[in-house]
């Protein structure tokens, strides 16, 4: 009975680890989706309505979900806290804090946006945002494929790993 309980515990922990890994992959896809949607909206607002960025960031922080929402909220907060540091610095610091799931290439694309936002005319900013949004859309598709592929692998591995540990311990 005790062995059965122990085996059950091992299997649960192993499956939980697998689920965490799969969850991480899915959260990354969702973050990329939300960031993509945010950048597309930002581009439209900047290009057509010339809205000031602090207003746009505040709105994005309210409207977007998950890591992306927290990222935009943080940019807005840091910019209000230290306007002299500039938007690019707030953007970079918020990325370090809230976009930890992203890969180097995704972070690089976003950093380029941070370097441009608020410092150039609407057309240049719009072009940079559109380029980054296209790049993020492609990276999101890749991440989606990866999440499906690796998701199955992680689930299988966690189940198999748990079973193997149980067999070794028994």
């Amino acid at each position: 009975m005790l062995k059965l309980l122990g085996a059950l515990c091992v299997m649960v922990v192993s499956l939980w680890c697998g689920a965490q890994a799969v969850g991480g992959l899915r959260r990354r896809v969702r973050a990329l989706e939300e960031l993509h949607a945010g950048l597309v909206w930002l581009e439209e607002e900047l290009t057509f309505r010339l809205t000031p960025l602090p207003q746009l960031l505040e709105r994005l922080g309210q409207d977007r979900r998950g890591e992306a929402g927290r990222f935009f909220q943080e940019v807005d907060r840091l910019l209000r806290l230290d306007p002299e540091g500039g938007l690019h610095q707030s953007w970079r610091r918020a990325m370090v804090r809230h976009l930890t799931l992203l890969k180097a290439e995704e972070r690089q694309a976003l950093l380029e946006v941070g370097q441009t936002l608020g410092r150039y005319d609407a057309r240049t900013q719009g072009q940079t945002l559109a380029r980054c949004a296209r790049r993020l859309a492609a990276l999101r598709d890749e991440a989606q494929g990866e999440a499906q592929r690796l998701g199955k692998v992680y689930t299988a591995l966690s189940a198999a790993g748990g079973a193997m540990v149980i067999l070794v311990l028994i």
Binding site: L53, P83, G118, D121
Partner: protein, 307 residues
């Protein structure tokens, strides 16, 4: 006359400076801060404070290219795209009615200045609000037709906007005259400095402000929608402004306007004003002269006779 809250306004304007420069200017004696008219930043040079006595360097300061960029970033609230049109005209209006003049290497497309690359110097002009200033001229602005339309003339920095703002306030409040409904076409936000729908500078209780749009559009919108008795506009520079003013004058509205210039003859040399003067739109000309804090106001009728 009361230069209301001059030191506080200076401090608010100085908030646009990077920390190391801001701390230095906000540490100046209150009296000096109250008299300061401009802050002048030139790359590689000390920060200068312009007072009626002239430009004084702040020893130990040195303005860098990054400082100039920071000032522009703060002035535009990290949104340069919202002030591109103003940058093309060489200045940016800052909340509070202050004005940031820009100088650098121009980017020209199709013969038009479209942007500035490499800022080389900036001039931050502090908005001034002197209550009671209008009393020096107001009694002389009445003619046979009642309150005459007025054109205020002075060289740049002579105090045109400050006088115009106080005239608007006095007419709107009914100081020594029956109160009037005043419409203000405040394209650059320097007259009323509207923020959140409320003027930051005192333009009187019966004043309606149309800000942020070209003067001609502002004038016509006010004329159509707000039934003004007086229309005010700062620095008439475009033919469209003149045609809107002619239309307003034809509707029986009194006009208050300002222009760069020192004499009636200066106006005659400029085709833009020649038409306005020839058609007798302005019944009064106020010429501001003076150096330092001293200002003298000469009021004449449209033909140059003293009033």
């Amino acid at each position: 006359m009361e230069n209301a809250g001059a030191a506080e306004r200076f401090d608010r304007a100085a908030e646009l400076l990077p920390g190391h420069l801001r701390r230095r200017v906000q540490g100046l004696p209150r009296e000096k801060r109250a008299r300061a008219e401009e802050l002048r930043l030139r790359r590689g040079r000390p920060l200068f404070v312009l007072t009626p006595q002239g430009e004084e360097p702040l020893e130990g300061t040195s303005v860098t290219a990054q400082d100039l960029e920071t000032v522009l970033e703060l002035a535009s609230a990290s949104s340069v795209h919202t002030v591109m049109e103003q940058i093309r005209h060489g200045f940016v209006s800052v909340p509070g009615g202050h004005r940031l003049g820009l100088c650098g290497t121009g980017v020209v497309e199709g013969g038009q200045l479209v942007n500035l690359r490499e800022l080389s110097s900036l001039s931050l002009r502090v908005a001034r609000e002197i209550r009671g200033l209008a009393r020096a001229v107001l009694p002389r602005l009445w003619g046979e037709r009642g309150l005459e339309s007025v054109l205020i003339l002075s060289p740049p920095g002579g105090g045109k906007t400050t006088l115009l703002r106080d005239l608007i306030r006095a007419l709107s409040a009914g100081e020594d005259c029956p109160p009037r409904r005043v419409g203000v076409a405040d394209e650059r936000g320097e007259l009323a400095a509207v923020a959140g729908g409320e003027p930051a500078l005192d333009v009187g209780p019966r004043t309606d402000v149309m800000s942020g749009c070209p003067k001609d559009i502002g004038l016509m919108t006010l004329l159509r929608g707000m039934n003004p008795q007086v229309l005010a506009v700062d620095e008439v520079t475009a033919p469209e402004d003149v045609s809107a003013m002619l239309q307003a004058a034809g509707c029986g509205v009194t006009l208050l306007a300002t222009a760069h210039g020192g004499t009636l003859r200066d106006l005659d040399r400029r085709p833009l004003y020649r038409e306005l003067m020839a058609r007798g739109v302005f019944g009064r000309l106020v010429v501001i002269r003076g150096t330092g804090e001293e200002r003298r106001y000469t009021v004449t009728d449209g033909e140059g006779r003293p009033c």
